[in-house]
Amino acid sequence: MAPIIEIKNLTKKFGNLIAVDHLNLSIEEGEIFGLLGPNGAGKTTTLLMLTTVIKPSEGTATIGGYDIRTEPDKARKLIGISFQDPKLLWVDTIMDVLNWHAKVCGLSRLERKTRVEWALKELGLWEARRKKIHSLSGGMRKRVEVAKILIQRPKIAVVDEPTAQIDVVGKHRIWNMIRALRDEGSTIILATNELYEADELSDRVGIMHKGKLLVCDTPEKLKDSIPGGDVVEVRIERDPPSHVIKRLESFDEIVKVSTIGSNSLRIHLNRAEEALPKIMETLFNEKIPVSSVNITQPSLDDVFLHYTGLTIEEAEKLSPVR
């Protein structure tokens, strides 16, 4: 099956600054695709090009088969966006904003009423529905912005940092609503600089840095791509003989074994879940008693660090676009 979004050499230049640099990417129908990167990585610019808000400098993309350069009107019928910064007129009420959005997106009167009411209630905005935007907190405005895409339910839903400024309970609620949107048939593009959010929601993650796509895969495979990214710490009750350490180091998954003090082993390895039984069997055969085992897997932050040499926070500080 052809991908629902095909991005080919997509580039955006603002003067001398290359915000997006020859991006190539395919997104499959029905997946949640996480676009991860620090502020200024080019995520939002990419999304604005895909939603035909800005024109690419080079390259193009197809949305459901429609080219964003030559058939932008048709592409826009399939794609909707919840912006990073809420795009709301301050004199409007929440109800005005959502009702008009639903209308212009072609929802029937009944659908409009049902979906607007549902979104307002689910996002905790029902009581405030008659309030004007200027009287709302940043978090409430963000919820209104997210409500627009949840009401629209486009074939491709783009959500740019959907939980920024939202409290923990609200975050989980929005994540569940994004998952539900996918389950109802939408393909989701999630742009975020929150590693946990990308890890939690995404079927695949693309990491962007300085306008380029560095790597793209499932979160698990990305983590496994770090050599020795998993760490197993084993507490044992006597010093391990050197031949045991050599034996452990001979396993394909194991990158490095080091002793910590006299009764701990720190093992850097790949695919810890597959290697652990072999490690335990070796220690058991050598009659070395094990008192505890602790496995630490790498996070997407470690993945980002591995591919860029920087943490997300460091990359944000160095970004030319904030």
Binding site: L48, T51, T52, V53, I54, K55, D73, R76, K77, G80, I81, F83, D85, K87, L88, L89, W90, V91, D92, D96, W100, K103, V104, C105, G106, P154
Partner: protein, 254 residues
């Protein structure tokens, strides 16, 4: 068609949300008629100047409220609404047509009751003439909205737009027959009256006076005025739509 109507609806609602501004404009209008108009009519030699002035000032308020769409476009740019509008599942052309219609319609909706007050004061002598004038003024409002959109999209700078519209307002109103008959403009300076011959406000105010039966100082026939208004409407609506459609993308707002 439905999408255009939604855009129009949004513009009308947005305009009506400016409650304080609309109240102040109405207050200004009432003060101009009940104070300035009444007092000035006792000073000047023009017979029935009050009626003449009341019709002219109605055109002024129609112009100044139709221009307001340009300010709304800047407010939208400031709040990032431009990006939102560009992302909607509606063609740029329909969006532009909707903005142009909305800008004109809302000013007409606002001015219609004020015009009713004026007509109650000065009366309508020929309802058919008035109906023709009324329809033409509707087109005039669209033309002004198109002109405002054209300028706003052309310069993309809120400060420059504000200054330019302030200057334009001062000149376009004063260099027309809105407040004084052309014969007196000629006496003051021939150039003034020549400029007034090309000023859409001249033709709009002449039409309203003709529609209301105030025919003493008309310098153009109603057909000429209607044709000029139609040309003004067609030209600026078209340019406004083209400018909005082509220049909305690309940012550069100041």
């Amino acid at each position: 068609m439905r999408e255009i109507l939604y855009v129009v609806e949004r513009d009308v609602k947005m305009f009506l949300n400016h409650k304080i501004l609309l109240f102040m404009r109405a207050l200004w209008f009432v003060a101009q008629i009940s104070l300035f108009g009444l007092i000035a009519s006792r000073m000047v030699v023009v017979p029935n100047y009050f009626e003449y002035y009341a019709a002219g000032i109605t055109i002024t308020i129609l112009y100044s409220t139709a221009v307001f769409i340009g300010y709304d476009i800047y407010e939208e740019a400031e709040h990032g609404i431009v990006e939102y509008l560009l992302s909607l599942p509606i063609s740029r052309k329909k969006l532009a047509i909707g903005r142009s219609i909305g800008g004109g319609l809302r000013s007409f909706i606002y001015v219609a009751p004020l015009m009713g007050i004026v007509l109650a004061l000065i009366g309508i002598r020929n309802p058919i003439n008035f109906l023709l004038a009324f329809v033409s003024l509707f087109l005039f409002a669209f033309g002004v909205a198109g002109m405002s959109i054209t300028i706003a999209m052309g310069i993309k700078s809120a400060d420059k737009f504000d200054i330019l519209m302030g200057a334009l307002d001062a000149l376009i109103v004063r260099l027309s027959t809105v407040m004084y008959p052309k014969v007196f403009m000629q006496q003051a300076n021939l150039l003034y009256s020549e400029i007034a011959n090309f000023n859409p406000l001249t033709f709009a105010s002449e039409l309203l006076r003709w529609g209301a039966g105030i025919e003493q100082y008309l310098t153009f026939g109603p057909i000429t005025s209607v044709l000029v208004i139609i040309s003004f409407f067609s030209l600026f609506t078209l340019i406004g739509i083209i400018f909005y459609e082509r220049r909305l993308e690309g940012g550069g707002w100041q």
